[in-house]
């Protein structure tokens, strides 16, 4: 039992100068049991079954194996939906980024002094910001019908909310000197915001818009699954038909697109900062 006592209350250490130090109990003594219980409980809830994994797990690699080599002749049919996906992301991101500026203005605590108004704005933003983009798209499909409009709107809404949060966090850290100077010369708060704060945040604003664009291209690729336009529809269809060589080509095309867009975006963002 000595090791147990040692675990909870370790032996005091005697230093060279005769000082006695009592080491703290390791945090692991609390964390390990909690994690063990949580893991076992989760495994029970999700019906963890190692035998299915052992019996069927290799199938995943069979699927991946059948994607190589991709069916190159399928490429011409992929271009259309791929371009559609990118265009949806471009328009959605632009719209969302454009709308996020006024809402961020209304949610920054160094500009809006009315606490009730401020927190109402923030609450609405964070309520809807937590929803994944695919769920937005799914609901919007029922409202606006199948097609790219629902997908674009989902991207725009999602970008709008998430950029608003990122922006007001930036606005709250800017130098308020110019803002106060311009306000004291008789300008309205909105005018002072446009003249003094927007130039300060413009670089970061473009940078987060580009970052969101990168993420949106990735997520736009799956929006087609719920019928909201783009390449996701093809992906689901080909997976359903088990044409894994064509799935491989779609994934490859997506990989190249995302890589190119990320490289361009990163280039612009490093230039900006």
């Amino acid at each position: 039992m000595k090791w147990l006592k040692n675990l909870i209350r370790p032996e005091p250490l005697v230093l060279g100068n005769g000082k006695i130090v009592q080491p703290k109990m390791s945090i692991m003594v609390i964390l390990v049991p909690i994690f063990t219980v949580a893991t076992l409980f989760s495994a029970y809830i999700i019906e963890f079954d190692i035998f299915i994994l052992l019996r069927r797990g290799y199938q995943f690699f069979v699927i991946v194996g059948r994607m190589i080599p991709p069916d190159w002749s399928y490429f011409p049919e992929v271009i259309g939906p791929l371009v559609e996906t990118i265009m949806m992301s471009i328009f959605g991101t632009l719209l969302g980024a454009f709308l996020s500026l006024p809402l961020a203005f209304l949610s920054s605590d160094n500009i809006i002094k009315n606490k009730v108004f401020l927190w109402t704005n923030r609450m609405v933003v964070s309520l809807f910001r937590t929803l994944p983009i695919l769920i937005f798209a799914f609901i919007l499909k029922y409202i606006f019908g199948i097609g790219t409009f629902a997908g674009t709107l989902a991207i725009a809404l999602f970008t709008w909310l998430i950029m608003t949060k990122m922006l007001y966090e930036i606005i709250e850290t800017v130098d308020m000197g110019p803002f106060e100077a311009i306000e004291s010369s008789g300008a309205s708060r909105l005018r002072a915001f446009i003249v003094s704060i927007i130039p300060q945040i413009l670089g970061q604003y473009i940078s987060i818009a580009l970052y969101n664009f990168e993420m949106n291209v990735r997520s736009a690729a799956i929006l087609g699954y719920v019928g909201a336009g783009g390449i996701g529809l093809l992906l689901n269809e080909k997976l359903g038909w088990r044409r894994y060589d064509q799935v491989g080509l779609i994934l490859f095309a997506l990989l190249v697109t995302v890589y190119v867009i990320e490289s361009i975006s990163r280039l612009i963002r490093t230039r900006l900062s």
Binding site: T39, S42, I45, T130, P132, G145, R218, S219
Partner: protein, 271 residues
């Protein structure tokens, strides 16, 4: 206005080329992308759906929200979603460890690190949902598939962030331990693990936060969690129920985001 102000105003930077250039680029991008967005107006039920769902979020159905007896009500579905995310994150972060060490330039030779980084980038490109579509054909529908999907799709991002931490390792500490006569195991225990632990924990918690959101959409392919009841509620015209489910999801995500933020701040500033 005073003389100096006017003088400085005349000397303001003449950046109209940049301004008009960016304006033109944006107009061009809009002009190119708009034709791809086809607006066909609302569907027959459009307005009603929007109204019911928003109404359901603002004023959730309490009997569905606090029903602890069945597996079809909100509490169990949220628990299942959180469990999928928890196990997926745990397994995923363990799986990411070897990939992370094999991709760090200060641990392995450069060519090995390049291959590792390439692999991580490829895994990271595809959203979890794509893996979900594949795994559903491997282990069939159910929450187990969801956890498996999150474990595999999480490798990319987790390993990428781990690599950044590993490449920041301070070698001086290890040399100091070496000088005081520690063996290899002691060097790892007292020199390397304490340096990595808090960052790794922080990354894993962040991944858990993302995985909760991912777990909620994996239900759309039938991989458990709150996603499937959500889409079937919308499909079956039970829109206010869908609103209630969304309300539950929002509360879960907000709680986890808050907890994760607190924990990570604590880890960053030292326990």
């Amino acid at each position: 206005m005073s003389e100096t102000v006017l003088k400085m105003y005349k000397k303001r930077p003449k950046d109209w080329i940049v301004k008009w250039g960016s304006f033109l680029v944006i107009v061009l991008l809009i002009a190119v992308s708009v034709p791809y967005v086809d607006y066909n107006g609302l569907t027959d039920y459009g307005q009603e759906i929007a109204k019911s769902i928003i109404f359901g979020i603002v004023k959730p159905d309490l009997s569905l929200l606090f029903d602890f007896s069945t597996t079809e009500a909100v509490p169990y579905l949220l628990l299942e979603t959180a469990c999928i995310a928890f196990l997926g994150t745990l397994v995923g972060s363990v799986l990411a460890l070897p990939f992370a060490f094999l991709s760090s330039r200060n641990i392995v030779p450069k060519w090995v690190a390049t291959i590792g980084t390439f692999f991580i980038t490829v895994v990271r490109t595809f959203p979890a949902f794509v893996y979900g579509l594949m795994f559903i054909r491997v282990t069939g529908p159910g929450p187990f598939t969801g956890a498996l999907t999150l474990a595999v799709s999480g490798i990319g991002m987790t390993a990428k962030l781990y690599v950044e931490t590993i490449e920041d390792l301070d070698k001086g500490i290890i040399e100091a331990l070496d000088a005081s006569g520690c063996n290899a195991i002691q060097k790892i225990r007292y020199g390397i693990i304490p340096q990595l632990m808090s960052n790794f924990a922080s990354i894993t918690i962040y991944r858990f936060e993302i995985n909760v959101k991912n777990a909620s959409i994996l239900g759309l392919v039938g991989a458990g969690g709150i996603g499937y009841p959500l889409i079937s509620a919308i499909g079956a015209f039970r829109w206010s129920d869908a609103g209630t489910l969304l309300f539950g999801l929002i509360v879960l995500v907000l709680i986890i985001e808050y907890g994760s933020g607190r924990l990570r701040r604590k880890l960053a500033t030292g326990i």
